[in-house]
């Protein structure tokens, strides 16, 4: 009888120990996954930040930027004529972007244009693609897309609203 009671006590304690261990393991798992998810979010934010940084850097690089040509010196302004020249000679500029950039695209958002890739003429298209891939983290920023137009024999500045999309991938991985 006494032996039985002792066994039951040991069994009870064993159950208790298992239950408490299980409880702490679950709490530990919960905290760990919470921490991991916050690290993952931070990593994503950093990658996005890099992509945004690249988008701004590209928009202000001499190969893209309008400079003072359109009176838009302090604005993120892309020269559409430079962009088309760059597109036509894209192989010569492969090293310009560095290894991380996988996608560079400029999409005209206003005024609304017919959808399609621009090939030489900018009037009936809305996309200028310099590099295309969906890999990496994407970031976009609204920019001015300016060019020189001619009306009644006189040249004037035409600036539209466009979105610069850049995808960035950490190539060191």
């Amino acid at each position: 009888m006494k032996n039985n009671k002792g066994q039951l006590k040991i069994q009870q304690m064993a159950f208790m120990l298992i239950a408490i261990t299980l409880f702490f393991v679950l709490v530990g798992l919960f905290l760990l996954s919470f921490k991991l998810s916050s690290i993952r979010t931070q990593a994503t934010l950093l990658e996005e930040e890099s992509a945004r940084g690249y988008a701004n850097k590209l928009a202000n690089s001499p190969e893209f930027s309008c400079g003072d040509s359109f009176g838009t010196a302090e604005v993120n302004c892309i020269d559409a004529d430079k962009l088309m020249t760059l597109k036509a000679n894209i192989d010569d500029f492969e090293e310009l972007w560095g290894k991380g950039i996988t996608n560079i695209k400029v999409i005209r958002v206003y005024p609304k244009q017919e959808s399609g890739e621009c090939e030489g003429n900018l009037n009936d298209c809305n996309i200028i693609t310099l590099k295309e891939s969906s890999e990496g983290f994407g970031a976009s920023s609204i920019v001015s897309l300016c060019r020189k137009e001619v009306l009644e024999g006189k040249s004037y500045d035409k600036c539209e609203v466009a979105r610069l999309i850049v995808n960035y991938e950490d190539w060191r991985e």
């Binding site: 299980l22 005024p111 500045d157 539209e160």
Partner: protein
């Protein structure tokens, strides 16, 4: 005594299971929470800068040049018309509406509003879409040093 001990164990196990289930549900909920689009100040500023630089369809009555939104706001505040007789304010309102509609995706952001004010009085109807929420980022730009301002606010 034996029976009482067994009841205690079952009761404790039940509590552990309930707590574990609650923890797991909370964990699943917190991991599946949809990520909201964050909005940075420079995105709002960049948008307003690009909007103000946009070349409108309005031609200046004096030199026949197409004018930018920045200049169009100045003309509208002074009641000027374009070369073809259309009101500067009508073109301004149409362009601002079009630019904001095409630039801001309301599936990613909650809403936006844009106002053009002269001495704190709106000179065109406020352009407003989506929902006004507590979190917002805004930017204001003074036009030509006059008391005319354009104010843009995005809600997220």
């Amino acid at each position: 005594m034996n029976r009482k001990g067994q009841e205690e164990i079952v009761g404790f196990a039940l509590i552990i299971i309930i707590v574990a289930v609650i923890l797991l549900v909370f964990l699943a909920f917190s991991l599946n929470k949809p990520e909201k689009e964050d909005l940075e100040n420079y995105v709002v500023k960049g948008f307003l800068d690009a909007t103000l630089a946009y070349t409108s369809e309005c031609r200046d009555e004096r030199n026949f040049e197409f004018i930018s939104i920045r200049k169009l706001i100045g003309d509208c505040s002074q009641g000027f018309s374009c070369y073809d007789g259309e009101s500067a304010c009508e073109i301004l309102e149409k362009d601002l509406k079009g630019i904001t509609e095409e630039s801001w995706d309301l599936t990613r952001y909650d809403g936006y509003e844009i106002r053009v004010l002269k001495k704190n009085q709106s000179i065109i109807d406020t352009i407003k879409e989506g929902n006004i929420t507590k979190q917002s980022k805004g930017y204001m730009e003074e036009i030509d040093g006059e008391r005319v301002v354009i104010l843009f606010k995005a809600y997220y």
